[in-house]
């Protein structure tokens, strides 16, 4: 055994260069087998549909034929479609309502629940539990809350002799209603991300801050928040990407109404492609959503490029 182990060391330098261990970094194409399953699904389920979608967006297509090449025709039609422009605005409005709220409430909850007590553990679980529900259940719960006359909100307002705001039917409140349901549904992930970031801040930095006479506010502002800056950016980007894809809540709570005021881009795509069967235009709208999300995701790299903060 000892002789076998010693053999490679006794070889001459020239011989050792030719041994397999000398070029372990050279490509071994049979290793591609390990990534093949992933590549297969990546190509068939992601890359191919993406390219096909782009191709479709330049064609007048329905379910029976891929139709004629129309160039940017679908995009021009979208540009002149007031409902589409409304849906873009609706989506931005929704993102604006939900993302800062999710980030700030998530951070607030994480700061409150970042302690080793049983109560904090129970509350963490409780706040996260809504995230595991399906969108159907979430919207059902919030329809029960918002439904006029008999809903939870109406009942509570009724105790005080007041009328509850009509979160589903009032044009100026409908999107806010959807946003409330969405924040309640999605708050678990930002909270958990912030909690894990907070728990990675070394304790001795806080001790140093205590010795440096920092009060709670100074500690939060100068130590805690800068330490979780990257996580904050991450949470914002993840939520932008997720909330741009609003569909289920809007579809199940308001069907995009009243008067298309809660119709987001994805719902517009669904309507156009699968209810009006204008696949080319639906594909073009998808590409615009793709670009919007891509720009938002790229922002992460731009904002999070600061270096030298790590010890």
């Amino acid at each position: 055994m000892a002789d076998q182990l010693a053999m490679p060391h006794t070889a001459t330098p020239a011989a050792s260069l030719r041994t397999p261990s000398a070029d372990i970094y050279a490509p071994q194409w049979r290793n591609a087998i390990f990534v093949a399953p992933f590549l297969f699904f990546f190509t068939t389920l992601l890359l191919f549909p993406l390219l096909w979608g782009i191709w479709l967006s330049f064609h007048k297509a329905d379910t029976f034929s891929s139709g004629n090449f129309v160039g940017l025709g679908n995009y021009v039609r979208l540009y002149h479609d007031k409902v589409f422009l409304q849906s873009i605005w609706n989506t931005f409005y929704f993102v604006l309502l939900t993302v800062p709220t999710l980030a700030l409430i998530g951070l607030f909850l994480a700061l409150c629940l970042n302690r080793r007590t049983r109560t904090a553990a129970v509350l963490r679980t409780l706040f996260f539990s809504s995230s595991v529900l399906s969108v159907t259940i979430v919207t059902l719960i919030w329809r029960i809350v918002f439904i006029p006359n008999v809903g939870l909100l109406s009942t509570i307002y009724g105790w005080f002799g007041a009328t509850a705001p009509a979160f589903i039917s009032n044009p100026s409140l409908a999107m806010i209603g959807i946003a409330i349901a969405t924040v309640w549904w999605c708050i678990g992930l930002p909270m958990m991300l912030f909690l894990s970031a907070l728990q990675q801040i070394p304790r001795d930095i806080y001790e140093a801050a205590a010795l440096d006479n920092a009060n709670r506010w100074q500690t939060l502002r100068s130590i805690t928040l800068p330490s979780i800056k990257r996580t904050f950016v991450l949470v914002v980007i993840i939520q932008i990407v997720l909330q741009f894809q609003l569909f289920g809540q809007a579809w199940l709570m308001t069907r995009g109404g009243p008067n298309n005021l809660t119709k987001p881009i994805v719902l517009y795509i669904y309507d156009t492609a699968f209810r009006r069967w204008d696949l080319g235009m639906g594909a073009a709208a998808s590409e615009i959503l793709f670009i919007l999300i891509l720009v938002a995701a790229m922002a992460q790299y731009l904002v999070a490029r600061n270096k030298g903060d790590r010890v």
Binding site: P202, D204, I205, E207, A208, A209, A210, L211, D212, N213, A214, N215, Q218, S222, I223, P226, S227, K229, K307, G308, D309, R310, V311
Partner: protein, 366 residues
């Protein structure tokens, strides 16, 4: 600024576990005190209690006769250098140093003056605009010390600040810390488990073990006259030789007899001792290597350690016990040689079964 620190009957528990028991200690102004002890002996806890990072369960701590154990860390007028440096990673070196001063409303001019002075003392003006992530371990260490200096504290606390540095840098920083102490003339408390750091830096060493103080004394007192068997074994490299022995108190000075019949005459007065089993202790430098048959015992050389200025010789006696002796740097003894070991009775120590020590010349009233 400098300060006396008085620790009176301090105890500390973590849950059911006792960490420090009824501990008292007086530290004089301008003194460099080192808490030395093995891991888990409570030395860091004691330092953190002085800093205010741990509460005091009972007893009190006073700085310049004012009780501080109820004050928050920032109000105690002390500065601490952490083992991990605990620099604020998102702040520049300058901001790291300024943070504590800004929080108590010191004017910008004063802050800048103090930072520049500290940077000059620590030879790091070129690092002020960098962030900790852009610094080496040694540079971070300097920044941590600089952050302490600018506060002009009554006392500096160091929690194993050299343990993350490589050997060469550790030696250099040790010397710089000694120079800094001479320059600032502040009270400094330094926690370490490294006896070389303790011996080289301290005015007085506080040796701690198992929740208690074993001995307080100057480095040479600790080395020459260890109060207990633990101190004798913990301080000094290689560790002191210990041999189980019985006492012969028939003469003025005690004589010890070992299991194999070998005997050594000590210079410890017989009337200070009581009959019974004891442990004979002697440091390696007090065991000379002589030709076989000419010493107090003969042994066979197991291992040689050449340290340059001297050679440590690990010899095995007839009964299997290993004793470390010392020979010249250019010793020609080799492994397997039979050598004689001559014990210097004047430098010997005796320990009773409870671990209490007696030394040549006079009894230790520890």
């Amino acid at each position: 600024m400098t300060a006396d620190i008085e620790i009176r009957n301090v105890s500390k528990h973590f849950g059911a576990m006792s960490v420090l028991e009824d501990l008292s200690l007086s530290i004089k102004a301008r003194e460099f005190i080192v808490f030395l002890g093995p891991s888990g002996c409570g030395k860091s806890t004691l330092l953190r209690m002085i800093a205010g990072l741990e509460t005091v369960d009972s007893g009190e701590i006073a700085i310049n006769d004012q009780r501080i154990d109820h004050l928050p860390p920032g109000k105690r007028g002390i500065a601490m250098v952490f083992q991990s440096y605990a620099l604020y990673p998102h702040m520049t070196v300058r901001d790291n140093m300024a943070f504590g001063l800004e929080n108590i409303g010191v004017s910008r001019q004063v802050i800048d003056a103090r930072i520049n002075e500290a940077a000059r003392i620590l030879e790091m003006p070129h690092l002020l605009e960098r962030k900790p992530g852009q610094l080496s371990g040694g540079q971070r260490q300097r920044v941590a010390i600089g952050r302490a200096i600018v506060k002009e504290p009554k006392a500096f606390l160091f929690d194993e600040p050299l343990s993350n540095l490589d050997a060469a840098l550790r030696t250099r920083t040790r010397i710089e810390l000694a120079q800094l102490h001479q320059r600032l003339q502040s009270t400094m408390i330094f926690v370490t488990h490294d006896q070389v750091e303790a011996m080289t830096l301290a005015d007085r060493i506080v040796v701690m073990n198992n929740r208690k103080i074993e001995q307080i004394g100057s480095p040479m007192e600790i080395y020459d006259r260890p109060a207990t068997k633990f101190v004798a074994g913990f301080v000094g490299a290689p560790a002191m030789n210990f041999v189980a022995a019985t006492l012969d108190r028939s003469g003025g000075n005690a004589k010890v007899k070992f299991a194999d019949g070998m005997a050594v005459q000590t210079e410890i007065a017989s009337n200070l001792l009581t009959d019974g089993k004891c442990t004979f202790g002697i440091r390696s430098e007090d065991v000379r290597i002589v030709p076989a048959g000419q010493g107090d015992a003969d042994g066979v050389v197991d291992v040689l350690e050449r340290l340059g200025e001297r050679t440590l010789i690990y010899a095995r006696l007839g009964d299997g016990l290993q004793v470390v002796g010392s020979d010249a740097g250019n010793s020609c003894v080799t492994v397997g040689d039979k050598v004689g070991l001559a014990f210097d009775g004047k430098k010997s120590h005796l320990f009773n079964e409870a671990g209490r020590a007696w030394h040549a010349g006079e009894a230790w009233h520890g």
